[in-house]
C-alpha cells in the first residue's frame, strides 16, 4: 500500500487555505489598498496628489487615527486581525484531515463545528477530479468521492495534481474489490523545474495515459457543438419569444415606437440565455470519454476542468435522444441517471448527467458500448436492435408497440411507442418528434409499475413505469395495450429480480486474481 490510501490520517495540500478562502481575503486587502491609493501615492511621492500647504485626505478613517495618536493601537489591531485570520486558516487546515482505509473514506473538518463524514468504499458511485482554473494554476485539484444521495459527496479539496491522480486510482482499486496489488503507480516521474512541471500539467491530456487509452472514443468537433447549441430548444425558444414580442408589439399595440421598449425589456433574457449557451460550448469543447479498467472516464471543461470516473454498475439508466432540429444532421445526445446528485448553482448537476453532449450515430454506439458494456458488444444483432430503438417504428420481433387505437393519445408516435426486454436491459422507445430511447439495465431496476386512469381504461390502454433513481430520465411509456403491458410487468419484474441476484458490479473486479 502506498501513497495516501494507507489507512493513516493525512492533511490536504498546504495551499488549500489560500485556494478555499484565502483568495477572498487577499481580494479584501486589495480593495482596501485600492481605496487608499491616494494616501499611498502621497506617502511615496509627496506633493503629487496633495499640493503642499493644503490639508487634504485628513477626513478618512486613517487620517483620523493618525491625527489622534491612535496609530500604534490601530496598527496593533490590524496586525491582530491579520494574525487571527492566518491562524484561523492554519488551524482549519490542520484540523481538516482525511483517511482512506480498505473499507471507508473518512473526512474530519471544522474548528468549532466538527464534521466527520464517512463513506463506504463499496458504495461509491464515482470519483471526480475537478480543477478550477485557479487551482490548476497552482497545480492542485479537488477530488470528490461520489456516493449515493443528494449532496452526499466526500470532497477532498485540495490535493496536489499527482497525488489526486494516484489517490483516484487507489480508491477505485480498493472499491473494485480487486485483490491485485497497487498497479505500479506511475508518478509520471516529473522532471525539470517547477515551472516546466506546471506547464506540462496544464497542457496535459485529461486522461492519464497509464490508466486509459489516450484517445477519447469520441472527438468533439467545434462546429458540431456550436451548431447543436444553436439548434437547441433554448435558442429556438429565445427566437420564438423575440418573434412573438415583436409581432405582438407591432400589431397589438400598434407602432414601431413601442418596439424599442419591448426590445429593451428582452435584452436581459437574451443575455442570460446567450451566456448559458456560450458556457455550454466552452464546457464541452474539450469533452472526452474513454474506458478505463475502473469504468467510464468523462472529461470536460476548457479552463476549469472536471473529470469523472463512473465505475461499472453505477449508471442507473441511459437515454439517447434527438430533437427534430437535430434530425437532418443525425445528431444525438446521451444522458444518464446516477445515484449521486448535486445541487449547485453553476449547473454542474447538469454536467454530471450528460455523457455525450452531441454526437453522430456512430458516436452514440461507441459511448453506449462504454456506459453499458456487454449490451452493444455481443455481435451486430444488438446494434441493429438499438438502431431500431433509435429511429425505427412499428412492431417487430423485439419491440412491442402501441395498438392502432393509441393514435388518439399518441398522435404521431403511436407506431414508434414501444418496449423491448433484453437479457440485460429494458428498452423503452418513444417520441416521433422528440425521439428518445431509454435504456434501463435490469440489475438497476428498483421496481416496476403499471398504471391506468379512467380515460386509458376506456381505451384499454396502460402506462408502464420502470423506477430507477431520480435523474433527468424517467423511464416510462404510455398508451400500451393492456395485455402487452401486463406481459411487460411480469417479464420486467422477473428480469429485475434475476439480474439483481447475479449482479456483482458493486465490487466490479472482485473476480480478478
Amino acid at each position: 500500500m502506498i501513497g495516501l490510501a494507507d489507512g493513516e490520517w493525512h492533511r490536504l495540500h498546504p495551499l488549500t487555505p489560500l485556494l478555499r478562502g484565502g483568495l477572498g481575503f487577499i481580494a479584501v486587502i486589495g480593495i482596501i489598498i485600492a481605496n487608499l491609493r491616494e494616501r499611498l501615492v502621497e506617502w511615496f511621492l509627496p506633493g503629487l496628489v496633495c499640493p503642499p500647504g493644503e490639508d487634504c485626505g485628513q477626513d478618512d478613517p486613517i487620517g483620523y487615527v493618525v491625527e489622534n495618536g491612535y496609530a500604534v493601537i490601530g496598527l496593533a489591531a490590524l496586525l491582530g486581525v491579520l494574525l487571527l485570520f492566518v491562524a484561523g486558516f492554519y488551524v482549519s487546515w490542520r484540523m481538516h484531515t482525511f483517511r482512506i482505509t480498505d473499507e471507508v473514506v473518512e473526512v474530519r473538518s471544522g474548528i468549532l463545528f466538527r464534521t466527520h463524514r464517512k463513506a463506504r468504499l463499496d458504495r461509491i458511485q464515482g470519483v471526480a477530479i475537478a480543477r478550477p482554473l485557479f487551482a490548476r494554476i497552482f497545480g492542485t485539484a479537488k477530488l470528490e468521492v461520489e456516493v449515493a444521495g443528494q449532496d452526499a459527496n466526500v470532497p477532498l479539496a485540495y490535493l496536489g495534481n499527482a497525488a489526486s491522480d494516484a489517490l483516484r486510482g487507489d480508491i477505485l482499486r480498493l472499491a473494485s474489490g480487486s485483490r491485485v496489488g497497487s498497479a505500479a503507480s506511475s508518478a509520471g516521474a516529473a522532471s525539470g523545474s517547477l515551472i516546466d512541471r506546471r506547464v506540462s500539467e496544464l497542457l496535459a491530456p485529461e486522461l492519464d495515459p497509464s490508466l486509459a487509452p489516450p484517445e477519447s472514443v469520441v472527438r468533439m468537433h467545434p462546429g458540431r457543438l456550436i451548431g447543436s447549441t444553436l439548434l437547441s430548444g433554448t435558442t429556438l425558444s429565445l427566437l420564438i419569444i423575440l418573434a412573438a414580442a415583436i409581432t405582438g408589439t407591432v400589431f397589438a399595440v400598434g407602432g414601431f415606437g413601442e418596439l424599442i421598449w419591448t426590445l429593451f425589456t428582452l435584452i436581459p433574457i437574451a443575455f442570460g440565455l446567450a451566456s448559458y449557451q456560450v458556457n455550454r460550448v466552452l464546457k464541452f469543447l474539450r469533452y472526452s470519454i474513454a474506458a478505463t479498467p475502473d469504468g467510464v472516464r468523462i472529461g470536460y471543461g476548457l479552463l476549469s476542468t472536471r473529470n469523472e470516473t463512473v465505475p461499472p454498475g453505477r449508471i442507473h439508466s441511459v437515454a439517447v435522444s434527438q430533437s427534430i432540429f437535430w434530425r437532418p444532421a443525425d445528431w444525438w445526445t446521451i444522458r444518464i441517471n446516477r445515484a449521486s446528485r448535486q445541487t449547485s448553482s453553476d449547473g454542474s448537476a447538469q454536467q454530471n448527467t450528460v455523457v455525450l453532449p452531441v454526437g453522430s450515430r456512430d458516436d452514440v454506439f461507441r459511448v453506449l458500448d462504454l456506459v453499458l458494456p456487454g449490451l452493444v458488444a455481443d455481435g451486430g444483432d444488438t446494434r441493429e436492435l438499438l438502431e431500431r430503438g433509435l429511429a425505427g417504428s412499428g412492431p417487430d420481433a423485439d419491440f412491442t408497440t402501441s395498438p392502432r387505437r393509441a393514435a388518439l393519445v399518441r398522435w404521431f408516435s403511436w407506431r414508434r411507442n414501444g418496449f423491448a426486454i433484453l437479457p440485460g436491459a429494458v428498452l423503452l422507445r418513444r417520441g416521433a418528434i422528440w425521439r428518445e430511447l431509454a435504456i434501463v439495465p435490469t440489475p438497476r431496476v428498483q421496481s416496476v409499475a403499471i398504471e391506468q386512469g379512467p380515460i386509458y381504461r376506456g381505451m384499454r390502454l396502460v402506462h408502464v413505469h420502470v423506477h430507477t433513481v431520480a435523474g433527468p430520465i424517467s423511464p416510462a411509456l404510455g398508451a400500451l395495450d393492456a395485455k402487452d403491458a401486463e406481459g411487460f410487468f411480469r417479464d420486467a419484474a422477473v428480469a429485475a429480480v434475476a439480474a439483481a441476484g447475479t449482479d456483482t458490479s458493486h465490487r466490479w473486479r472482485s473476480s480478478e486474481k
Binding site: 458504495r123 445515484a339 416496476v448 391506468q452 410487468f489 429480480v497 449482479d503 458493486h506
Partner: protein, 160 residues
C-alpha cells in the same frame, strides 16, 4: 370491462375497518374545505358563490361513496422474490418491488387509524417514484410484515 391484473391470484386485503378510518378522514377534509370554500360568499355576499362549497361537498360525497370499493381494491402479495401492491379502481396502480431493493420499511400510525388499531406500512427504495404505502393493516400484522420484509430484504441484499 375487466380491469388490468398482471399477476392473477389471491391478494391479501387490508382490514375492512380501514373503510371507517378513510371515511372519517374524508369527513374532516370535507368540513375544512367546505368551510374554506364559503369565504368568497362571506366576502361578496353574492348567493352565486354558494356554488363553490356545494361543489366541494359533492366531490367529497362522491369520494366517500367509492371508499368501500377503493379499500377493497387495495391489495398486496408476497411473492417469492418481490412484493406486489395494487390500489385504485378509477386510477389503478400495480407495483412490484424486489425484496433486495427495499431500503427501509416504515410503520406509521395516524391518530384516527390508531383509535381503530390500524397501522400504515411504507416501503422506500432508491427510486423516489416507487413509493408504496399499504394502509389499514392491523398493528400486529403490520409489525410482523415489517419484520418479515426486513428479513427478506436482508437475505437478498444487492447493491443499488
Amino acid at each position: 370491462m375487466s380491469s388490468i391484473d398482471p399477476v392473477p391470484g389471491d391478494w391479501q386485503r387490508v382490514s375492512p375497518k380501514y373503510v371507517v378510518v378513510d371515511l372519517l378522514g374524508i369527513l374532516v377534509s370535507a368540513i375544512i374545505f367546505t368551510a374554506g370554500a364559503t369565504v368568497p360568499f362571506w366576502v361578496t355576499r353574492e348567493p352565486a358563490w354558494l356554488i363553490a362549497p356545494a361543489a366541494v361537498l359533492v366531490l367529497h360525497l362522491l369520494i366517500a361513496a367509492f371508499t368501500p370499493r377503493r379499500v377493497r381494491a387495495l391489495g398486496y402479495r408476497l411473492r417469492d422474490d418481490d412484493l406486489v401492491f395494487r390500489k385504485g379502481i378509477m386510477f389503478l396502480r400495480v407495483v412490484a418491488v424486489p425484496y433486495g431493493r427495499m431500503q427501509l420499511v416504515d410503520v406509521n400510525r395516524g391518530p384516527i387509524a390508531r383509535a381503530f388499531g390500524l397501522s400504515e406500512l411504507k416501503l422506500v427504495t432508491a427510486a423516489a417514484t416507487s413509493h408504496i404505502t399499504i394502509p389499514g393493516l392491523p398493528e400486529t400484522d403490520a409489525e410482523t410484515l415489517r419484520d418479515r420484509l426486513v428479513e427478506l430484504a436482508e437475505s437478498r441484499r444487492a447493491g443499488l
